[in-house]
Symmetry: C2
Subunit: 478 residues, 2 copies
């Protein structure tokens, strides 16, 4: 089954093949790429299309044009900066207690007077906010009265239909009645945890993991069992199997793709292996697919639920990272637990706001979402590339960094002993915000790590801020 | 301190005084009321105003005009139908498990092909939906992009300012920063319970109580201790004191005013006494003020938090019953636990949808809320009066019913042994929906009771449906 996004432009698909050749080592740093003419002939496309592909690769820093000579493979940053090693969190469950430091970081992360390397929230201008707002204005004018009721707790039927249709394209067969709309992905995760766990239970998670998720675990009184996680390929299946054999785990909570903060992509075979292990141990999977649509590759990865349709999986997602954080529209789909999640949603907030859901349904029906996704995928991929190049030339030697396959965050690992909390204190004084690594664990690691968000339009201010962080890190290492 | 709603029209205030005379027995059934001219002179108002007051009393069924003779006090329904006796729930805590029957009732209650005596949700046309929708349309056009971010978890600052200002009018001093916006009152209650209880704990509640609240308790794994409750005056303070002395109770959850389903009003002195008992036992109070603005009296009752500003109280409320159920905008205020509720809100859903909050703020700022409240108070009071008269002439002898002081639900108690579940089954076959009493308790009582909702525009269909329910009840008693 071809999982390529059906409407990816030809030149982007071609550029993707060149990147694959570079990644596989067929095209190596410094090598001259085939001429545009040869490339066009080889792939049976027009000169214009071939040139578009090369320009894109130039934008992304994969190729560089030399006057009168042609295109050459540049020294890609990842060749100099290896990814961090796989994490090795403690093999015990930890009661989660993270909220206080998180709140202090969030206060700076949302303050526009600080350079925005903290929050993983795209600036509104980058997303589809304005078009969606026009839909909302129209909905309020046209449909207002009909929607001013407690909505069906399932959520807007048309919106569920749209979500179901998009899921089907990924091979995830979930009928509209199997979709439940939530107040953003955070409520979705709360609902999923409330039907699978009770306080004191242990939940297995990747490590490092998104601090907001740790806050949710803390609010539920849960213990976190952090799993060894490779920044390139994800969860270690054998370690997962061993961990689940050693203790009772109520649920396993993983990113479907492009985890925050590591940004890795787990291939289908490994996803199937993970689900198999979970099924054998009778542990439900809660998967968070919020970044799945922001894939830098030629295809959009499939969630676990699409790969293992019979397993006990609750999929959680939202439009907050791709269309509109301010609308708070997320959803769940749970093949086996639909009645449970519906009851939990009802007890938690009855139903969601009706008109924003209707506006989102109209937006999706109007058909511009895929074109919008192509635009922001390229935009975030470019941002990540620029951030990586800036880190590469500014940060201390021996700094490692991830090479995210999607999303918009970058994870840096500095030499052992480096104190990212100290860097954070200095950076805040200079009005630069990022998130120190210690917030991404419940068990006290990652003090030498940090997360940079690349979710805003690239700017001289952002570039200078990253450079300055590098200088400060250098000073701290002296 | 004069708690009269400041902008209540003069004729309504005058009508309220006449009702007080009737209620106190000074004006008795069949007596001739003072002539319009005498009444005007007595109160120093114009003839027009006096006549407006009498017309209002006529609308509400308190007075009846006899041609060429004047106005007479009618036989008010409550003279023939006493309220139910105070409830006597079991003196033990019960693990709550109610969701399945509730969902089955809700499916019918929201189906417009059934006579709408089930859901306590006003029809959109009765509320301020259209004006609010216009505000939302404008907000989406004008402010869209600025609001398409994860909002401050506290919620829209302007909206919090408006809520703070209105609270102050009731003597409840809560600054805008002390208000936390939630996804409706249901999420507010979830947040309040999450910071005061843990699974297995016991929560003291009034009895009978709103089934949605029981569902929330169930979702939190809580036990319900149901308190003896008088349909006219509310919680029995001595019984509360005794109950709290006998076991550990984690929180007490009460309606501030016009409880669903009993509709009673607790006077300020009793509220103070209740809070005092709770404080002595170290039990926090969660108060649900969702119906407080729908007062039939001349004033709007004060919440517990206004009367006992130093006690450990979390106030929960929303605009769902007065402006717009579909917008899902509620709020909390907790003098002592603000940081706790903020952290809980953040973990539960990050923040609410931004534009609907902004639209609500604009609506409140534009100043029509009080005029709107006057209109719907009269409307719901009239609905309740008509419903009571219809029940009075249609239901079996010995049927008791409440005389609500606000809100829009009526509670009926039929003779012991009557089976309201059986009545429900028959009524559903005839496309009439109501809620049987058994749903209002976790401990298995109220099988001979039922709740009728008076939240829709009165119509011949509603009247016929109530009459038919009376006939069916008669048949069941044969």
């Amino acid at each position: 089954m071809d999982q390529r996004t059906p409407d990816l432009p030809l030149y982007e698909a071609l550029a993707g093949r060149v990147v694959a050749l570079v990644d596989d080592g067929v095209l190596r740093v410094g090598m001259r790429a085939p001429s545009v003419r040869a490339f066009a002939a080889q792939h049976g496309v027009s000169l214009t299309t071939a040139l578009q592909a090369y320009r894109l690769l130039e934008d992304r820093g994969v190729l560089a044009a030399r006057p009168k000579s042609g295109f050459y493979v540049t020294s890609r940053t990842h060749t100099r900066r290896p990814p961090p090693a796989a994490s090795q969190p403690p093999q015990r469950a930890t009661q989660v207690s993270v909220s206080n430091p998180v709140f202090s970081v969030l206060a700076y992360a949302t303050d526009p007077s600080y350079a925005p390397l903290g929050c993983a929230v795209p600036s509104a201008g980058l997303l589809a906010a304005e078009r969606l707002d026009r839909h909302l204005a129209r909905c309020a004018r046209v449909h207002g009265r009909n929607y001013n009721v407690y909505a069906d707790p399932h959520g807007d039927a048309e919106l569920r239909g749209q979500i179901s249709e998009r899921a089907l394209r990924l091979g995830h067969a979930v009928p509209p009645d199997g979709v439940l709309i939530s107040n953003g992905c955070t409520e979705a995760l709360n609902i999923a945890l409330s039907v699978t766990t009770k306080p004191g239970d242990t939940v297995a998670i990747e490590s490092p993991t998104y601090f907001g998720l740790l806050q949710v675990l803390e609010a539920h009184g849960l213990r976190a069992l952090e799993l060894p996680t490779d920044p390139t390929s994800g969860i270690d299946v054998a370690a997962l199997d061993k961990a689940l054999g050693a203790r009772r785990v109520a649920a396993c909570l993983l990113a479907s793709s492009f985890s925050n903060p590591l940004g890795y992509r787990t291939d289908d075979a490994r996803k199937a292996a993970i689900t198999k292990v979970l099924t054998r141990h009778g542990v439900p999977l809660i998967e968070d697919d919020i970044y799945g649509d922001i894939s830098f590759g030629a295809d959009r990865p499939r969630p676990f639920a699409a790969i293992s349709p019979k397993a006990d999986i609750i999929l959680c997602s939202s439009f907050s990272k791709t269309i509109a954080p301010g609308y708070r529209i997320g959803w769940l789909a749970a093949n086996r637990r639909h009645d449970q999640i519906l009851a939990a949603k009802f007890a938690l907030s009855l139903s969601g706001a009706a008109l924003p859901q209707k506006a989102m349904a109209d937006f999706l029906t109007s058909g511009g979402y895929d074109a919008h996704l192509r635009r922001i995928r390229k935009l975030f991929a470019d941002n990540i590339d620029r951030m990586r190049r800036t880190v590469d030339r500014s940060f201390p030697r021996d700094t490692r960094m991830t090479d995210p396959r999607g999303g918009f965050v970058l994870w840096l690992e500095l030499p052992h002993g480096f104190d990212a909390d100290a860097l954070y204190a200095r950076a805040i004084r200079e009005r630069i915000c990022f998130v120190p690594g210690s917030l991404f664990t419940a068990s006290g690691g990652y003090r030498n790590c940090l997360r940079l968000s690349c979710s805003h339009d690239w700017s001289a201010r952002i570039e200078r801020s990253v450079e300055r962080l590098g200088e400060l890190a250098d000073e701290l290492l002296q």
